[in-house]
Amino acid sequence: MYAGKKGLGRYSFWLMLAPALLPYLVFKIYPFFNSILLSFYNWNGVPGSPKIWVGLSNYAKFLYQPPFSTMFWRALSHNVIVFGLLLIWSTGLGTLLAWFLTQVRKGGGFYKGIIFMPNTISIAVTGFLWSLLLNPQFGAVNALLRKVGLDALAMPWLGDSKLALPTVIAVNVWHGLGFPVLIALAAMLSVPKDVLEAAEVDGANRFTQFWKITFPIILPNLINLMALNFSGAFGLFEIVFVMQGAEAGPFYSTDLIGTLFYRTAFGGMGATASGMGLGAALAVVTFLIVIPVSLIATRIQRRYSVEV
């Protein structure tokens, strides 16, 4: 279809593009490119104050000049741990539950609805809820553990620097698990039934059926889920902020790139770190880590898209 051909009317379709294009360019694209630009300056963000070109020195601070480099590498190592936990708890457990859903004849829709339900809750609200439940003295989790005789397991979940990060991630998985379950389930349902039935006739038990037939078919979807775990780990902020504070306690044991970035941008790191340029540099480093993986994920997604 062609736009009208008379005079200026030919360009009238731009009027229909404008309401999408303007907010997108101003509030999404411009800030993205401006991050890159700002990262080369030293500026406190106050209008009229000097904005000094410092080249790559903001990057140098994060990469190898303590104290910022200490915080950066610590947060990055926590992000790697989180990614590992998500691979097992989100993609792994999600795939397992999805497979269980394909094996039951009744109640599948019911379980699916329940598993997905927490996904509709705000992640911040989820954090507030669980911070009450995990309270060491009055929380329902420890009360339940004591009631069933597992007193030894009633721990200060969020107060222990070894337990805090896995606990926060477990809460995050409680919130998000419905998504990998549904993606894996949709992929499994695309496996042709007659192939599975033929294998069953040939005497393959259901585990063999899963490993030899289903798993190879759904592998691209699982790789896509893993890529989402990766970018998801770098997007985590609220759950840590709400449950452990901006300082990501105890003793920064739950500090992630997301919380470190928030402190760099909005204070909490001392006067020397309140620079907008320093925060922007951290944002650019994160872009460089996340965007390639997202691109790969989008490619895989496009090539093997699953109908949900």
């Binding site: 999408a20 800030p31 991050s35 339900m117 509709t120 809820l129 009450l132 994160t286």
Partner: protein, 278 residues
Amino acid sequence: MVWRNPRLKWAAIGFHAVLIIYALIVMFPLLTMLLGSVKSTRDLFVNPFGWPEQFVWANYVRAWTEANFAIYFKNSLYVTVVSTTSIIFASSMAAFVLARIKFKANAWVHGLFIAGLVVPSRLAIIPLFLLVRDLGLMNKHLALILIYTGGAMPFAIFLLTTFFRQVPNELAEAATVEGAGTWTIYWRIMLPLVRPALATVAIFEALHAWNDFFFPLVFLRSNKLMTVPVGLSVFFGEYATDWSTLFAALTISILPVIVLFIFMSRQFIAGLTQGAVK
């Protein structure tokens, strides 16, 4: 598959058992919250997850009025409705143009929108903060509405363009012969045909606006403008020891969405799974 022998029947029971255990893990916090919201604080500390000694509805009254939840709720509703409406209009018009009108820059503009799929919005918060401040939008709902609208375009346009392209050409051609202009074709013919896709976008983006914590945290300062999730954080600071009111406030935050989910779970699931694979 038919369970021919007892061994298989036991396996089926095992599968159900695991699924029921996980369903309980999902439900336990939500039920604890619901029951906690109608207990007295003393009852709650003695008996954290059992049935309430007696039902204390006053917790809800306190959360709704004293703790400003009536205001937070209204603010969330306003931001959600306005941003979802503007997202639907802006993205459907743009997607219609990109899917159906030939012009030189078409592929380029479409590519520009799609590229946004891999750009995480929140990482650009520093320039965004300076921009909002310089535009005088600090502490205004409009800042959130514009950010949500701009941020939603890649996914919404990506999804809607695909749907608009599937509409058979004959329909639009017939309308052109009848003398319908571009606007009429969009509004009268195309839009009604892509309603399911519009619903997907609307549910995903409405939920995102309703649940968002990050942008209100950065841009809203005054208590009377806060949306539910950030209002909840103020409330958790002020009422830290009043657990039963905290549970009532949590229930007010969570229950409306859960109830909608129960009635429209298919649309929710479609919206959220397609929305999150960005």
